[in-house]
Each structure stands twice: as structure tokens, then as C-alpha cells.
């Protein structure tokens, strides 16, 4: 069994308007030292998945089913209290927008110390020393001084580094980064991504990066999982996704990806339409209302839910179009356009 | 504010009640108090009005402390500076005036009896010189014997209205003072023997400017309670009044409370009217009025010092509960609630127009407005209330068979006055007195039946007389033809009740209590009363004054006031003294 394994995870929220199926039958696995990128638009269920792994939906209104195995332990059926003791220690999370994610009334040091002392029975003094070390390690200059600063006194990039330091305080074996660079400008983004790569190597943790931007995971991930409407619609190695993508949605994501090697003046190719409602999911393939190739499925797209099938060597795709047709479309219609643009 | 002002209202209106000046009356010195209760039944049964006309729960048991409370406060506990009826009743426990009203139930309470003096005053033939002999052996609380000079000093200091603005002014008006006398503080060396002489330590002689046969009522005023000059601190004397009665102040904090304990230098042998039953008194000032009623009912407080009756909330509770009603009394007060009909305002300068108002008024609605028969009072048909000596029942303006007004007669009167379709005037009342507002509304409805349109105007009670209805020019400018009013007697004779409210010669620029009565014939009758030596004849003249005022129709009487009071739990010797219209505080004891 892998270090982290999700089996048919479902997270549904009952609301006044109906049942919101935020995550609907998600399975994947991840080994120590490996990085998985989960990509999708907002509302695709990727953040709900990460919070679900951490057990943060427990005790709320969410209905959770399926299995989450972490290092041989099943977490869905485990008690909330047990999962809490794992949180922050065995698995940790880095959030988007560190300004709102850090408490404004406590110093950065206090917040790291707090995280450390929940799981380690040490004195405040020792914990503080540890916090300074961590801040130094994530590249914050003069950490012994900055440890007493408040989050609002940091710049955006520094704040994200502090956030990372806090997540790393207990040497987690699973690290989940939710849009870790979204709030940052481009050069800082690159620095943070470099930092995360270095740290992952040092810590040998399993890393999940959640993003709507394929560019972020291109360099960092071993595998990529593309989510749409609460389901995985394509899964494969980074090479699979970038070189041989087979799902029309993935093609759309690739087309709308800003790339450093492109001229910034060039137009991106956005995906038409908007993300699906999670209450009244479109019939058949959830993506069909936005799909340019819906007419090539002999009408099945509107009626039948496609299955996630292996196309080749662990590369999974959820699409009604035959494999050959998908490959032909990619090679003949999509790839040349993308290359022409570059 | 409204809730409280009710209390304030009744208080300031109530002021004083006093006694029957049965002229020079009886010289009885019978040992007092509940002398009528010799056949003392143990723990008397509760009954409505059990404290009126007789002694409830008579007892000679000593000890215990009586708890008083009041929603307002004393104007001052200094005898020279108080004008509240309850204060005149209460201060007898610590001060002894020359004479006082007999602590006895019913009519007997109206008798003036000697206290500090050995007997009532000896008048000269022209009633201008009055002589009193002091008892021997009376001492101040510090053991110093009381001398006639102390009484003289007390009366003289009370004349200083700059220092003591609250008290009555009878001595100022009647004593034959030298021109250059200002006050005991400013002109201490001016000889005052022309007004008061003290030929020896036990004798005091008063000289009046003109004769007055009822002088014993003056001698009963708190102003004659002796004050040792050495201890006089002017205004500050109220912080420690030196006692001559059986109790002295342990503490006196204006606005908070007072506590009195036994005075070791009081000697029962010198005192024939006091039994001095309790060991002391606690008085709490500025209590919440509704809270006070509830505590009175529950027994946490034994006496409502003001004695003006329970609040509307407790009233319905007491009347509705037979057990509670049996613990209550309904004494009459020497007080009338009425409306002045102001002849300065057209068309009320015409007698018939004024009469139209009398006939049109709904007397039952007015009584209801003033809180009904128990807490309000009896329907009044003239200004002078029945408890005043010489009162005669008459009704010049019968308000129909059911007392709801005589519309036909009112219309007749309007026609006679040349206003057959009625007229419009304004009516003033004290805005923070709900009863007066209700009465105004009752009048508004009743008068509308004959076309008299009344517009009600509320004014602040504190300035009602100084700035509004008590100011003739204001009434003229604002077309105020009717104004709510009320008056209580200083003591229970015509002089004590009427002299301040019907004499047109007292009317000044502002601050008038007499807002409407301007008739030379009335003034002449007042002068006649003052010079009539015989008490019965004199009382007859006052009754004539009352009648003349009603003939002139300057006053629309509403009710002769009554109050519903609750007898505190565990009290003995409870009875209402007619002189004050209150429980006699001198006689009370605890079981």
C-alpha cells in the first residue's frame, strides 16, 4: 500500500438548495518523496479534497464516505480527536493568502511556537529557538528579529515563507500546499516554488500541490491529477499531461496556461463557459456543455457518465471519445495550435 | 420621571395640614397618645379604616426601631426651614414647640395642647400680646436646660428667609419687629424686645402688629422649637439639630437618610404628651415610590413618611385584596384639587361664561381623573374642604342628578354671557402630573358638549407658578383661562387654608398660587375674619369667603383629597391625627 491512498472518496454537503457533491468518487495514491499536482478550476473540489484529507470536515455537516489511508491508517473512520493529533504533525498544510491565513493578533513566532508545542512537549524557549531556525531555513533574513514581527509587518513573499515554516514545524510526512503562490507576484512565485522543491527534497515528504495553474506544477510534480466537477477526469505523470493529454478539458487548461516562454502580449485561450453546478450536475459527461468535441461522441456525452479508464501505463482519462480519436485530435488540431502560439 | 413626579406632585401640593384652631380651645393636658385605647385589646384585628377615629392596636410596650421611608425627602429637618406636613408631624419626636396638636385620633387631634409651655398662651385683651410660661426641667440633648431665650432665638432665626427659605412666614408678617432688624446673623445686636420679650428664663412674650386670636396655631409652628444659639450653624444646623424631644439625631444625611436614637436628657416627667415607645427611628429618603409601597406591604418598611398614599400600582392591589385592604386607611386631607378660572382672559371676564364652565364640568369624570374616590377624594362643591373648621356644605352649581354636568344650565349661562355657541380658551396643567392631564382631558370632553373648546397646555411643574400659570401676564398672553391648581391647609381653619389663595392683594408679578380670585368683597371678608375674636363667628366669616368665591365662579373645585395609606406591619398605637391628616408619628410603637 502506498503512503497516501484515497479510495472512492466522496464529500457531500447537504444545503437548502440540495446536495452539493464537492468530491464525488476520487481515488489516487502518493508515495513519500513524490509530488502530486491537483489541478482544476475553482469549485472543482480540489480544496475540499485537501481539507478532507486533513480531517477538517469532520464534525461538520459534510457527509464523507470512501477511504483515506495514510501510512497504513484509515482516516475517514478514525475519531476526530485522533485525526487532530496527526494534523500539523504527520500532515500539514500551507494555505493560499497568508495574510488572512495567519492570525493578525499574534506574532509570526508565537504562531509557529504554538504549532510546534501542540505536538512536542518542549519549553517555550526551545520552541522559540526552533521557530527561529525554521524561519532561517525558509530564507527569512534576520530570523531572530523577525520572529517577533506580526504578519502584517511582513511582505507577501516573506509571509508565505513564514507560513511554510509553520507547516514544517513538526517535520510533516505529508504536506499539502493549497494555491501556495496565487497571491504572489511572478518572481516571488518562482522563489517560493524553488523553496518548496528544496524543502521537499530535504524532508522527503509527500507533497500535494493544489492549483488552478498548470504552470505551477509543471516543474514540481511527478504526477498530475486534473479535477472537474468533483471528479478526476485525467491522471498521469507530468509528462503524460503535458505531452500526451487526452481530455479536452486538459487541452483547455494547457491552452489557457500563461508561460514564461511566451510573449506576455499574446492572448491566452480561455475555456468557454463556466464551471458546472455541483448540485445539478450536467447529465452524462459533466464537461459536455463546454466541450468543443461533444459532437464526436455519438451523443453519449449527454446521456452517459464516462468512466475513468486507463489509456496507457497508468495514464487515466474520463472521456467517451475513443482513444485513437483523442490522440488524433491532440496531434492534429490542438498541439499545432499551441505550438504556433509559442 | 412620570412615576416619580406623581409623588413629588402630591407632596408639594400637600404640604401642610394642620389643626383645628378651636380658637384658644381646650386647655386639656391629658396624658396623651392612645389614651382612648386603655382597654387595649391584644394584637388588634385588621380592618379597613381601623386607624381612623380610633387607635389601632394600642400598646404601651417599649423598644424596637420604627422604619420609615419616603420617596422624596424632608425639605429640611431644621424646624426653621420646613413646610411639609409630614415634617411638622415627625419633628415632634425630636423637638418640642411651645404648644402642639394633641396626639389623639379623630377630632381630638385638632386640639392645641401645651408642650414646652405649661399651658396655652395668655392673650392680652386686644390679642396683640401673648405670654407663655415654659416648663421647668426641660433640657437639650447635651443636658443644658432650655430657657425662654432659646425659644426667642429660634423664632428670630427662622425669620431669615435668605438662610431658611422653606418655612412659613407667619412670624415675619405678624411680629412687631424693629425696622433695623435684618436677621440674627447680620444684625445680632439690634434689640428685638418690641417683638419678643423674655422677662425671665421661663417666660416668653410675643408682641404682634395687630391682634390675632388664633395665635396658639403660630405657637404650634416648628419655629418655636428652641435652638441653642451657641450650637446654631445657620444652614448647617440641619446636619445636627439639637434635640429637646425624647429622640436625637444619630445621623442626618439629606437625600439619603436619617437615624434617631433615644435622648438621655429627655425627662418623661416634663412631658405629658409623649410616651416615647420605640428605641429609635430609621428614615430612608429618596426611596423608589413603587418599591416603597411593596416594602410597606411586605413589612420591610413600616411607615411611608410622606403619607400621601400608595402609588396607582399598589392602589389596585390593595383595593383588590381584602386582607390588604383591611390593613389600609383612607384618611381625608385638608386639601382641595381644583382649577382656577381666570377672569383676566376673555370671555371669562363675564361671570356667566365662568358659570357655564361650572355647569358643564363632569364632576364624576374629574374625580376619576384624580384617581377616584379612595386615592383621589370626594367630589368637591366648594373650595374649602370639610375638615376645615367652619366648613359649610353648599352646591351653587348642581351638576345634574348623576353629577356628570348640567348641559342645559351651561347653555343658558352661555347665552346669558353672549356666547351661545361657546368659545375657545387654553387650559394649563403641570405636564409631569398625569392626574392633572387626565383631569384636563375630562374637562375638555365635558366642555366640548356646550361648545367650549379647550386646548390643553402642559408646563413643567417646577416652574409652573414662577414662569407659567402663576404669572398673570403669561396667562393673558397665552389665553390661559383655566389652570390646574391645588392647595393644602397650614392648619385646619379658614385662615390656614384660604388666606394664601383667595386674597387678591397677595397677587404679584409671578409665583402666585392665587391665579384667579380677584374680588374686593372677598378681600373685605378676609379682613373681617381676621378681626373677629369669636372663633365660631370667625369660622362663619371664612365660610362666607368660601361661598363668595364660588358665587364669583373663580374656582372650579374638583375633589377634596383623600389618600389610601397602608398600616405597616407590627406597629402599635396607629391612628390618623386630623391635624396632619397623617398617622400620628409621636404615638407609634412597635410590637
Amino acid at each position: 500500500m502506498s503512503f497516501l491512498e484515497l479510495k472512492d472518496l466522496r464529500i457531500h454537503f447537504p444545503t437548502d438548495d440540495g446536495l452539493v457533491k464537492s468530491v464525488d468518487g476520487l481515488s489516487f495514491s502518493l508515495e513519500r518523496g513524490k509530488t502530486l499536482g491537483i489541478v482544476g478550476e475553482s469549485g472543482s473540489g480540489k480544496s475540499v479534497t485537501s481539507l478532507g484529507i486533513l480531517g477538517l470536515h469532520k464534525g461538520g455537516r459534510a457527509r464523507i464516505s470512501g477511504e483515506i489511508w495514510l501510512d497504513g491508517e484509515e482516516l475517514v473512520s478514525a475519531s476526530a480527536e485522533h485525526v487532530r493529533t496527526l494534523r500539523g504533525k504527520k500532515m500539514a498544510m500551507i494555505f493560499q493568502d497568508p495574510l488572512s491565513s495567519m492570525h493578525p493578533f499574534y506574532t509570526v513566532g508565537q504562531q509557529i511556537v504554538e504549532a510546534y508545542r501542540i505536538h512536542n512537549d518542549v519549553s517555550k524557549k526551545v520552541a522559540r529557538k526552533h521557530a527561529i531556525d525554521l524561519l532561517g531555513r525558509v530564507g527569512i533574513p534576520q530570523p531572530d528579529r523577525r520572529v517577533d514581527s506580526y504578519p502584517h509587518e511582513f511582505s507577501g513573499g516573506m509571509r508565505q515563507r513564514a507560513m511554510i515554516a509553520m507547516a514544517l514545524s513538526c517535520d510533516p510526512e505529508l504536506l499539502i500546499a493549497d494555491e501556495p503562490t496565487t497571491a504572489l507576484d511572478v518572481t516571488v512565485q518562482a522563489q517560493i516554488l524553488d523553496l518548496m522543491r528544496d524543502l521537499q527534497r530535504d524532508f522527503n515528504a509527500a507533497l500535494i500541490i493544489i492549483t488552478h495553474d498548470l504552470g505551477v506544477v509543471a516543474e514540481l510534480s511527478d504526477d498530475i491529477l486534473v479535477m472537474y466537477g468533483g471528479k478526476c477526469i485525467e491522471y498521469g505523470t507530468t509528462e503524460d499531461i503535458f505531452e500526451r493529454p487526452e481530455h479536452p478539458y486538459t487541452w483547455g487548461l494547457l491552452g489557457s496556461m500563461p508561460r514564461l516562454d511566451r510573449e506576455p502580449t499574446e492572448r491566452l485561450l480561455p475555456i468557454k463557459g463556466s464551471p458546472p453546478s455541483l448540485i445539478n450536475v450536467p447529465s452524462g459527461c459533466a464537461f459536455h456543455p463546454r466541450c468543443a468535441f461533444e459532437d464526436r461522441t455519438e451523443g453519449r456525452a449527454k446521456t452517459e457518465v464516462p468512466e475513468l479508464l486507463e489509456t496507457e501505463g497508468g495514464h487515466l482519462v474520463r472521456c467517451h471519445m475513443p482513444r485513437d480519436l483523442r490522440r488524433a485530435i491532440w496531434e492534429n488540431e490542438i498541439k499545432p495550435n499551441l505550438e504556433a502560439a509559442s | 420621571m412620570t412615576r416619580r413626579s406623581l409623588v413629588v406632585a402630591t407632596l408639594s401640593g400637600a404640604l401642610l395640614l394642620g389643626v383645628a384652631a378651636c380658637g384658644g380651645g381646650s386647655t386639656s393636658t391629658s396624658p396623651s397618645g392612645g389614651s382612648t385605647g386603655e382597654a387595649a385589646a391584644p394584637a388588634a384585628a385588621d380592618a379597613f379604616n381601623a386607624g381612623i377615629g380610633k387607635v389601632f392596636n394600642p400598646s404601651d410596650k417599649k423598644g424596637g426601631v420604627i422604619k420609615f421611608a419616603i420617596s422624596d425627602d424632608f425639605d429640611s429637618v431644621d424646624p426653621a426651614d420646613t413646610y411639609y406636613g409630614f415634617a411638622w408631624d415627625f419633628l415632634r419626636v425630636y423637638g418640642r414647640s411651645l404648644v402642639t396638636y394633641k396626639p389623639a385620633p379623630g377630632q381630638e387631634g385638632n386640639q392645641v395642647v401645651p408642650d414646652l409651655a405649661e399651658s396655652l398662651g395668655q392673650a392680652s385683651d386686644d390679642n396683640k400680646t401673648w405670654t407663655y410660661k415654659l416648663r421647668t426641667g426641660v433640657k437639650f440633648e447635651d443636658g443644658t436646660p432650655v430657657k425662654s431665650a432659646d425659644v426667642k432665638y429660634a423664632v428670630l432665626r427662622s425669620l431669615d428667609k435668605k438662610t431658611f427659605p422653606n418655612g412659613p412666614t407667619y412670624f415675619n408678617d405678624w411680629l412687631d419687629l424693629p425696622k433695623d432688624f435684618v436677621s440674627v446673623y447680620k444684625t445680632p445686636d439690634v434689640k428685638t424686645d418690641s417683638a419678643i420679650e423674655t422677662p425671665d428664663d421661663q417666660t416668653i412674650v410675643f408682641h404682634l402688629k395687630k391682634g390675632y386670636a388664633g395665635f396658639d396655631n403660630f405657637a404650634a409652628l416648628p419655629g418655636t422649637i428652641p435652638v441653642p444659639q451657641a450650637k446654631d450653624t445657620g444652614v448647617k444646623y440641619r446636619e445636627h439639630v439639637v434635640a429637646t424631644g425624647p429622640y436625637m439625631f444619630k445621623s442626618a444625611e439629606a437625600g439619603k437618610g436619617y437615624s434617631l436614637v433615644r435622648n438621655p436628657n429627655w425627662d418623661q416627667a416634663t412631658d405629658q404628651i409623649r410616651k416615647a415607645l420605640p428605641d429609635g427611628y430609621e428614615i430612608e429618603a429618596k426611596a423608589n415610590a413603587d418599591d416603597l409601597d411593596n416594602r410597606l406591604i411586605s413589612g420591610d418598611v413600616q411607615v411611608d413618611l410622606a403619607g400621601t398614599g400608595v402609588q396607582p400600582a399598589a392602589l389596585s392591589r390593595v383595593l383588590g385584596d381584602p386582607a390588604l385592604k383591611a390593613r389600609s386607611d383612607n384618611p381625608t386631607a385638608a386639601r382641595t384639587w381644583y382649577w382656577s378660572i381666570i377672569g383676566d382672559v376673555k370671555p371669562l371676564d363675564n361671570l356667566d361664561c365662568r358659570k357655564a364652565i361650572q355647569f358643564a364640568a363632569d364632576k364624576v369624570a374629574l374625580q376619576t381623573a384624580y384617581n377616584g374616590p379612595f386615592a383621589g377624594g370626594d367630589i368637591a362643591t366648594s373650595l374649602m374642604p370639610p375638615s376645615i373648621a367652619g366648613h359649610q356644605d353648599f352646591n351653587l352649581y348642581p351638576a345634574g342628578a348623576d353629577n356628570h354636568g348640567d348641559v342645559a344650565k351651561a347653555k343658558e349661562a352661555l347665552t346669558a354671557c353672549g356666547q351661545p355657541n361657546g368659545f375657545a380658551i387654553n387650559a394649563a396643567y403641570r405636564a409631569d402630573r398625569p392626574k392633572e392631564k387626565q383631569a384636563g382631558e375630562a374637562l375638555q370632553q365635558a366642555l366640548a358638549r356646550v361648545g367650549i373648546k379647550l386646548t390643553l397646555k402642559g408646563y413643567p411643574a417646577g416652574d409652573y407658578f414662577a414662569l407659567y400659570a402663576g404669572k398673570p401676564s403669561f396667562n393673558k398672553e397665552n389665553n390661559i383661562g383655566l389652570a390646574a391648581n391645588g392647595w393644602g391647609a397650614d392648619w385646619n381653619d379658614g385662615f390656614g387654608f384660604l388666606s394664601q389663595i383667595v386674597d387678591s392683594r397677595t397677587i404679584r408679578e409671578a409665583g402666585n398660587y392665587n391665579m384667579s380670585v380677584k374680588d374686593p368683597a372677598v378681600d373685605a371678608l378676609i379682613d373681617k375674619a381676621m378681626t373677629t375674636a369669636d372663633a365660631t363667628a370667625r369660622n362663619g366669616v371664612w365660610a362666607e369667603v368660601d361661598k363668595k368665591v364660588m358665587e364669583d365662579s373663580y374656582v372650579l373645585p374638583a375633589v377634596w383629597a383623600k389618600a389610601l395609606t397602608v398600616r405597616g406591619k407590627g406597629l402599635t398605637n396607629v391612628f390618623v391625627n386630623d391635624a396632619y391628616g397623617l398617622y400620628d408619628y409621636l404615638a407609634l410603637g412597635v410590637q
Binding site: 491565513s101 504554538e114 502584517h152 509553520m166 | 446673623y185 423608589n288
Partner: protein, 339 residues
């Protein structure tokens, strides 16, 4: 920081001066516009059968005959250097700070107020402790159990609490818990015992006023806390705290409540300051001889120097409380820096 403080202190003094001028005008200038002469105004303070000459004398004694500006100047001067008052048998020096001399009780106002301040302070402090604890706890629980029976019941009671006037809740609670009740929980009104005399009796006698007053405020604070908690518990940093593995209690208290308390501290400071200036309704309902009772009695009796004194004292507490709140805010919320 120091310049900020100095600026605020100057502002506070100016504010107090303005309050004093406005109050003074209301009582001494406005009646004149309404046509009252100084002698008319003095008529209130003489006995009921006073002659015109006596009113004149009283007007003179009370200083009404001088121009208003002179009267105001005299009032201000007395605060700093004191004043002398003739009390008949002699002259009394009312030493600084002399906030006037009562027309009626003929006592200096300042010692009177100092005398009553402990009553109001006792009432305010006790009630504040109760309402802070009860209000905040109820608010937090309501927010955490939003939509539950507890939440609905607590918020209904809170609505009643903010709507029902003190003189109603006060009298009802007296009837239920005090009068004639053999198991009475507390003493009836107006039985204030100084703390230094007997702390147990002090608390026993004040229990009902405390609870009644606290009920009014607790209701507001519960609603406020609930709203604040609902907002902060949805914040990102609460999710972060949970992701750290913090126990829920710490999440709620250290992270949620800490942030939600900030606006409550502000309001608490002002409420408390206002209360020190006199809890008029509570004090009159329970006949407690505090500043509020003093004020209402003075207003009813038209005793203007007392009214002036109480107004100034209340204004002082409010201005001072708002200053403290502003300073405290910087301590509580590090994002606020005073410059």
C-alpha cells in the same frame, strides 16, 4: 505616542469645556429666552408663600442677577480656586475642585458626588463582571451552536433583555425574589452597605441590582459576541489554527474569541464609562443612593448646581473611557499603531 496622548488629553479638556458651556446654557440661558427674569427663576427656591422681596433676595443669594457669562465664569473659577458661600451663621469655603453649591440642600456638590460614587462604582463593577461573563459566554455558545435550540432560546432571551426596561425587570425581580419571600435571594432596594463595612452584605444587597442591570447589558453583549464569533470563526486563520492540530477549545478561545473581543472591548469601555456617570434607572428602581439617583433627584428638584456637577462628572467618565479604549485598542490589536 506621547504627542498622541497630549493631543487626546487636550481634546478631552476642550470637550469637557464645551459640555459645561452647553449644559450651563440650557439651565441658565434658555429660560431667559423663554421670558423668565432672574427673580422668576429664583421663585423656585423659596418657600410657597414667599413674597416678591424674598424672591428678590433669593435671586441675589443665588447670583441670578449677574450676567450669565459672569455666573459661568464664577462657576469655572470655583473649580480651580474654590468659592465661598454664606450659610447664614457664617461663610463656608468650598475648596477646589468646587463644582458648585446646591441651591436646596445647601451643601457643596463635589463631596456629595464623591460620597455617592462608590455606590455607582459598586453597581457598575459588579454588573459589568456578570454581564461580560454571561454575555460573552452565551454569545460564544450561540455562535458555535448556531441554529440550535440553545441558540434560539438564548437569542430570544437576549432580545427580551435589550427590550425590557430596567424599571420593569427590576420591579418584577424584586417581587419574585425579595418582598415577603421567606427564601429571599436578596435584600429589597436601598440597602446599600459600603464594601469596607461588610463585603458579604455589600454583595448580598447589590445582587439583584447587579443581575437586573447585567441582564440588560448581557443581552446586547451576547448578540454582539455571537455576531463577532460567527464572523471570526469563518476567517482563514481559524482554518489555519485547526490545520495545526490545535484542540477545538483553543481554536475557539485563543483564535476566535480573541479576535471577536476587540470590538466588544471598545463598547465595553464606553458603556462602563457611561455607567459610572450614573445608572439612573437601576439606581432609582432599587433606591440606591448613587450618582444616577442623585442626578434624577437633582433634575426633579431643579437643583441646577447638582445637575451641572453630575453632567460634568458623567462627561468626564465618558471622555476618559473613550481615551482608555483607544489606548487599549493599540494593545489588543497590533495592527493599530498610535502615531
Amino acid at each position: 505616542m506621547v504627542t498622541y496622548l497630549i493631543r487626546r488629553l487636550i481634546g478631552a479638556v476642550v470637550m469637557l469645556a464645551v459640555v459645561s458651556m452647553v449644559t450651563f446654557s440650557i439651565f441658565f440661558v434658555v429660560p431667559r429666552w423663554a421670558g423668565a427674569t432672574p427673580v422668576d427663576m429664583a421663585t423656585r427656591y423659596v418657600g410657597r408663600t414667599a413674597s416678591a422681596e424674598m424672591a428678590q433676595v433669593a435671586a441675589q443669594r443665588l447670583g441670578f442677577l449677574d450676567p450669565v457669562i459672569v455666573q459661568y465664569g464664577r462657576w469655572v473659577k470655583a473649580i480651580f480656586v474654590g468659592a465661598d458661600y454664606d450659610y447664614g451663621a457664617g461663610v463656608e469655603h468650598c475648596s477646589a475642585p468646587c463644582f458648585g453649591y446646591s441651591f436646596l440642600s445647601r451643601l457643596p456638590v463635589w463631596p456629595d458626588m464623591l460620597d455617592r460614587l462608590p455606590v455607582t462604582a459598586s453597581l457598575a463593577i459588579g454588573a459589568a463582571v456578570i454581564w461580560l461573563i454571561a454575555g460573552v459566554a452565551t454569545g460564544v455558545l450561540s455562535a458555535l451552536k448556531r441554529g440550535s435550540f440553545f441558540d434560539r432560546a438564548a437569542m430570544s432571551v437576549a432580545l427580551a433583555g435589550v427590550s425590557l426596561p430596567i424599571f420593569f425587570t427590576g420591579l418584577v425581580s424584586l417581587v419574585v425574589f425579595s418582598y415577603g419571600n421567606p427564601f429571599r435571594v436578596t435584600a429589597p432596594g436601598s440597602t446599600y452597605t459600603p464594601f469596607e463595612q461588610n463585603p458579604a452584605t455589600w454583595a448580598y444587597n447589590l445582587l439583584l441590582p447587579w443581575i437586573t442591570l447585567a441582564f440588560l447589558y448581557a443581552a446586547g453583549y451576547a448578540r454582539l459576541t455571537r455576531a463577532g464569533m460567527l464572523e471570526t470563526m469563518g476567517e482563514d486563520y481559524i482554518r489555519t489554527a485547526r490545520a495545526k492540530g490545535l484542540p477545538e477549545r483553543s481554536v475557539v478561545v485563543r483564535h476566535g474569541l480573541r479576535a471577536a473581543l476587540t470590538p466588544i472591548i471598545t463598547i465595553f469601555g464606553l458603556d462602563f464609562g457611561l455607567l459610572l456617570g450614573g445608572a439612573v434607572l437601576t439606581e432609582s428602581t432599587f433606591s440606591l443612593p448613587g450618582i444616577g439617583k442623585y442626578a434624577i433627584d437633582a433634575i426633579i428638584a431643579n437643583d441646577l448646581p447638582k445637575v451641572m456637577g453630575v453632567t460634568m462628572l458623567a462627561a468626564f467618565f465618558v471622555v476618559f473611557a473613550s481615551l482608555i479604549v483607544d489606548l487599549l485598542y493599540a494593545v489588543v490589536d497590533p495592527r493599530v499603531r498610535l502615531s
